[in-house]
Symmetry: C2
Subunit: 282 residues, 2 copies
């Protein structure tokens, strides 16, 4: 596996691959890789001739006071996982390589979409995500790019950006990968102490409750969200940021839980903010 730390290295290698007619898959990550990321790499390897994984904790998607400094990192472990899953290149740039000191250009969706859900408390987050993903698209020029359904709003926003900005890139969404007890895999799970780790199960339990209610015929979003909220509030270590039902494509609020509706939540367990979701009918 090639370890590239500069944009020039990536461009040079990718252009060699393209000259051979090979297709390129891109898996953008912030590192500290787990089985969720591995599933993206596996999918990319199965669909593309060459797979590039970016491993970059992107500062422009963190606001002051968020966990940019604390965000966990372990590049050696990341490389081992990526080799094991067949990635061809990891792109591991410094912040200085990705952003010149006077960088000021951003890609932004100027609608309500990025203000919903996580955007309510993280107003600059998706502008940073769109910007870094567009840069990675421009550097790697992939045929396909892979994103996890765990970050459902991010996935919807990337799909929107690709459509609006006319990128000729297929966006492949991949299912949430969970621990055996149901907790969605996340690099931020490492922040949890053992008590919090147990408390964190309320997210998945609330999702199961919502799914059960829908299966049993309840399609009133307010009722399902309210029941899910109550079930989370029983956990003393949990503090809800949001539990919401939105259209899975537009991320705008809905009243009825029809197929394609995204039921999503963000919940603080202690100081750790976790997200999880399901899509009705999937």
């Amino acid at each position: 596996m090639i370890i590239a730390t500069t944009i020039a290295q990536v461009r040079e290698q990718v252009s060699k691959w393209k000259a051979q007619g090979l297709t390129i898959g891109l898996v953008p990550t912030m590192g500290y890789l787990h089985e969720g990321h591995a599933s993206l790499v596996n999918k990319a390897v199965s669909q593309c001739d060459r797979v590039v994984v970016s491993d970059f904790v992107n500062p422009t998607q963190f606001a002051p006071g968020e966990d940019l400094e604390a965000y966990p990192r372990d590049f050696e472990h990341d490389c081992a996982l990526l080799r094991q899953h067949g990635a061809d290149m990891v792109f591991y740039p410094s912040v200085e390589e990705m952003y010149e000191p006077d960088a000021a250009t951003y890609v932004e969706i100027l609608s309500d979409m990025p203000k919903m859900l996580c955007g309510k408390t993280r107003p600059i987050h998706f502008r940073g995500v769109c910007t870094v993903v567009a840069k990675l698209f421009n550097i790697v020029t992939p045929d396909r790019a892979y994103f996890g359904q765990k970050d459902a709003q991010q996935l919807a926003i990337i799909r929107k950006m690709v459509r609006d900005m006319s990128y000729g890139i297929e966006i492949v969404g991949c299912p949430i990968v969970r621990e055996p007890d149901g907790l969605a895999k996340s690099s931020r799970n490492t922040y949890l102490n053992s008590e919090e780790r147990q408390a964190a199960l309320v997210l998945h339990k609330a999702l199961l409750l919502g799914q059960k209610m829908i299966r049993e015929g309840e399609h009133d979003a307010a009722k399902v969200i309210s029941a899910m909220t109550e079930s989370i509030e029983k956990e003393p270590l949990a503090r809800i940021d949001y539990v919401s039902a939105v259209d899975g494509v537009t991320i705008l609020p809905v009243d009825e839980l029809q197929n394609g509706v995204l039921v999503a939540m963000a919940v603080y367990i202690g100081k750790t903010r976790l997200i999880d979701n399901f899509t009705v009918g999937e």
Copy 2:
């Protein structure tokens, strides 16, 4: 010459060319082509294996009340000129092909750069320019793209966008092309009646005056700008929008007229807004 009206057609043809290892040049235009555009196409033909010219009056760079509706169009004449100069493809999309009804994603430089010069009176202009140029980059995926130095702020902004967004595209700036009497070629010159056409010469005359003062040793921007301003104000049909000296890369104001400084102006002749400029030392 191929006439493509859809994004899919462009992508298909470009990918065929790329599979043959050919390099691609892009010349973005708003049509109503003149010798200024022709010089861009000539340059592109001399440097690239295949040349794509886009011909699209981009609505997102016009504010309400500007001349979007009135902007002159003549696609047949454009095609004749492009054939004559050796373009391989013209991309002539409809507004609906370029922008879906709910398009909301923009590329924007969030610094003072796009607020200077033309940005003072056209606050959304460069956001529209960056967005459509980024889309054209994503559709055509050129090796090089060609822009006229007449739109000097636009050229500087595109260079900045390319750097910040990590586009692997070389931006080639081409000199201003003038009428025999000095008026810079512009599609908007067609708006001028014969009296205005004569009055419009004040722009070039003011530039010549500024260049002469600098050649004779005056490097105080305020003095040169003031003399140029006075010379324009003598023309009753002229109304100055701005006459300014800025850094040619950052487009921020400067006091001293050193090499690389851009001396730029926008002047209304009657209702027609014309721009012109020179760079010190070029």
